[in-house]
Amino acid sequence: MSLSDKEIIKRLEALAAKVAAQVMRGRPPYIEIPVRSFSNTIWDEKRKILRLGPAKARREFLDSKEVKKFMQTLLMLSLIVTARREGDYPTIRDLYYMGKHTITYRDINGRPRKEETWNEQRESNSIIEDIEVAVGILREDMGIMHDAKGKMVGNVIIRSKGHIIDCSKMGIGAYAIPPNPDRLEIIKVEADYVLVIEKDAIFERLNQEEFWKRENCVLITGKGQPDRATRRMVRRLWEEFGLPIYVLTDADPYGWYIYSVYRSGSISLSYESEKLACPEVRFIGVAASDIEAYKIPKNYVIIATDRDLKRANEMMKYPWFQSEAWQHELKLFLKRKEKVEIEALSGHGFKFLSNVYIPEKIEKRLWII
């Protein structure tokens, strides 16, 4: 389903051509961009994924509050078009630097002033996302790279640029998931399930123990909030090989939200859920109810902050957290006001997590969705 460079260039050019035509006709130009906010996010109940709604906003040249973004959008568009025309694969950081110009002008008092086209990468990243939704092409497909941070280990064999990579032969390391996993060929998977771990430290510990070999599973971590490549890889393993996916996070609202990103997509990137979300992802822990169920020692229990509580309250209202099990967990959290890290399970010994907790949760089907 990958688009050709020619098709991509055509679509990007079309967006600019529309603006150019407006300008040449002397009409105040604008760019129409689908709104990427919670209000324009639709929960697809049937498919259990977050999708982008129909709302579009006009980014107008003559709107003094929007004109900078209007400029930034065209600037970014020109950078991407140029990269595609020349066959370059810039990272989002490259694009940030390439587009960072200094504009000089005189302010209302006639004093000379300087302004950067953008001041931080967050701004240029956001513009890239705008362009993705405006032209309907994911940035990976536009040849834009990012610093991938996902890792994977297990009985998976991959072909990449003609080389065969065996993800079970990484020694004490792991396979680094590249920015665009769609350019990989997954040749063979011999595993019963995929375990996605929020934290790199826990991933490393389980890899050290060769947990994946013993349990015959694939271990993946996105190191906190997962990037798209990690999510895409998880999705492919689920979609193409029918593996059940289990997620292990800290027992706090941030951990649980990370689970929901794997499952349903994120609010800010809901337009790409179709390719990234895994509606059947199972949450095995750590749940709020585990604090009591597993008798986690008091010294591991942390008092929830106001921010945690606020976040949990917001999550209670999200359509994709409406299941009975999740409502129960969130209510329990709000009542107890306690959270724990995955490491808290070490209170029952260092091997408790790998020997008891994870296998028991999977065996006894103690996950929630």
Partner: protein
């Protein structure tokens, strides 16, 4: 007791010469110390010069000069020269040397009342330095210029002409030049005098005034050739009488005629009194219309004066005896002196208090050279005289402080100046200093109406400026990105960047600058 009462009683009962009385009570006329005395002398001379010109529709040219005679002893020479109608030869000694002699004892608005001030200045100079006043004067078309040096015989209240000479008026000059040598503290009076000259130039924009003092030279050329219509000599209003005025008026009428009836007296002497009004009043007051005014006793006069004050059905006083500056001239004066960005003025319709007609004029000036201040800068005038002292107790200050200026979009500190001008045949001064106007309800009300109307106009101006500012800001905000946008479009489309730049500039100019003032959105 008023000063007048005191004076009259001094004259009548104690045999004290008015000159002597003034000499002993000089602080009443503002000559209490060398600072006030110098300021007061300049004022008296300048105001006489303005009266000698503008009342006769002559565009005033006034030159004021102060120089040191002895810096150590604080002796200064003040000279003021004008291009007025001059003083008739015979009158000169009395005008400068006899207290209570003057042409101003009439009911019309003029700057000085009674013309007493100039004699006080002469007396003060004589007292502190022993020098006579030097007067040089010529009437229009006069072939000669007359020069006098005059002293006052204080006990007899008579002028002493020290010297007199006459010169050929070769240049066809007319006007009056007065020089006084007195003890005066220039360094302390300097700022007040400068302020006084500036404000005088403001309220008389048709005058050309130059000022020269030790270390300073100012010149205010005239901003207009229009002079307001001079006030006509008015009759007194019946409600404004007291027993003394009544006595004087009766004496005036009697001197020219034989027996005058009360009814005739009222009709003839007072403003706005016809036969019908006179009869209605007399009936109400319990006097027969045919009584001769000679027959009235002191007690009856007292009763009559009280009833005239209290009668509610007099017609309102006519303002013919007033000469406000008018909106146009006031605006010109303010522009000339304060150099504001915006100024607007209002001359209210005539009104009256206690039988005296008055007109209130207000101007509001904003921005430009006016410094930002924490509360409105106030410039007060009464009958075209700048009031510099006692601002805190003046009715204008009271009214201004009672207004919530934020309603008019003014946030302090703000470059705001307010000019108030009260014209009346009798200014309701507070106390003897004649520097503050009392809070008479009628005056207060007129001031507030005028102030609020000018403030509303200022608000409209500020709103307009704000809108213009916003349009300009929006223009700059959008315009600065045109280069980047044009370049990006050029890269993508392959068309020249210049073409996009030109088109985008046109769109911004068309829709933001020309269509300015509309909301932030296009279309």
């Amino acid at each position: 007791m008023t000063i007048l009462d005191e004076l009259l009683s001094a004259e009548e009962f104690r045999g004290l010469s008015p000159a002597e009385f003034f000499y002993r009570n000089r602080e009443i006329a503002g000559f209490s110390n060398p600072v006030r005395a110098l300021y007061q002398t300049v004022r008296e001379l300048v105001e006489n010069s303005l009266d000698a010109t503008e009342l006769y529709r002559i565009l005033p040219d006034i030159h004021v000069r102060i120089s040191y005679v002895s810096r150590e002893k604080n002796i200064v020479k003040v000279s003021v020269r004008d291009n007025g109608i001059g003083i008739p030869l015979k009158e000169v000694p009395n005008v400068f040397g006899k207290v209570f002699y003057g042409s101003k004892y009439k009911l019309r608005q003029s700057r000085g009342v009674f013309g007493l001030g100039i004699k006080m200045a002469v007396l003060y100079a004589q007292m502190t330095t022993g020098s006579p006043v030097l007067v040089r004067t010529a009437s229009p078309k006069s072939k000669n210029v007359h020069e006098f040096q005059i002293l006052i015989d204080i006990t007899r209240n008579e002028p002493i002409v020290v010297s007199y000479k006459t010169m050929n008026n070769t240049r066809g000059w007319h006007g009056t030049h007065v020089e006084l040598t007195l003890e005066g503290n220039w360094s302390s009076a300097r700022s007040r005098i400068v302020e006084y000259i500036k404000r005088t130039a403001l309220i008389a924009p048709y005058a050309s005034i130059s000022f020269e003092g030790p270390g300073i030279e100012l010149s205010f050329p005239r901003a207009t050739k229009k002079i307001p219509v001079p006030p006509s000599v008015g009759k007194p209003h019946p409600r404004g009488v007291d027993i003394e005025l009544l006595k004087q008026l009766i004496a005036y009428v009697n001197s020219s005629n034989q027996a005058v009836t009360l009814e005739d007296f009222l009709v003839k002497v007072f403003d706005g009194v016809g036969r019908k009004t006179a009869r209605s009043f007399l009936k109400w007051a319990g006097y027969g219309p045919a009584i001769s005014i000679d027959e009235l006793s002191i007690e009856q006069l007292d009763d009559l004066a009280r009833k005239m004050k209290g009668y509610g059905k007099w017609r309102r006083p006519r303002p013919l005896s007033l000469s406000p500056l008018g909106e146009e001239l006031l605006v010109k004066g303010v522009r000339k002196i304060l150099k504001p960005e915006f100024v607007t003025a209002i001359t209210r319709k005539p009104s009256s208090y206690g039988g005296y007609p008055f007109v209130v004029e207000v101007a509001i000036a904003w921005g430009g050279d006016i410094p930002s201040v924490d509360r409105p800068l106030l410039l007060r005038f009464a009958n075209k005289i700048p009031l510099l002292y006692d601002e805190g107790v003046d009715v204008s200050r009271k009214v201004i402080d009672g207004i919530d200026w934020s309603v008019y979009k003014i946030k302090f500190p703000a470059p705001l100046a307010i000019i108030t001008h009260l014209c009346s045949t009798k200014i309701p001064f507070k106390g003897v200093g004649k520097e503050a106007i009392a809070d008479v309800p009628e005056v207060e009300r007129e001031l507030e109406i005028a102030l609020r109307e000018t403030a509303r106009r200022l608000k409209r101006h500020i709103s307009r400026i704000e809108r213009q500012y916003e349009v300009k800001l929006r223009y700059i905000t959008i315009n600065k990105y045109i280069g980047e946008i044009a370049r990006a479009l050029s890269v993508i489309t392959g068309k020249e960047s210049k073409v996009f730049e030109k088109k985008l500039s046109e769109i911004v100019e068309q829709k933001v600058l020309k269509g300015g003032g509309r909301g932030n959105e296009s279309l």
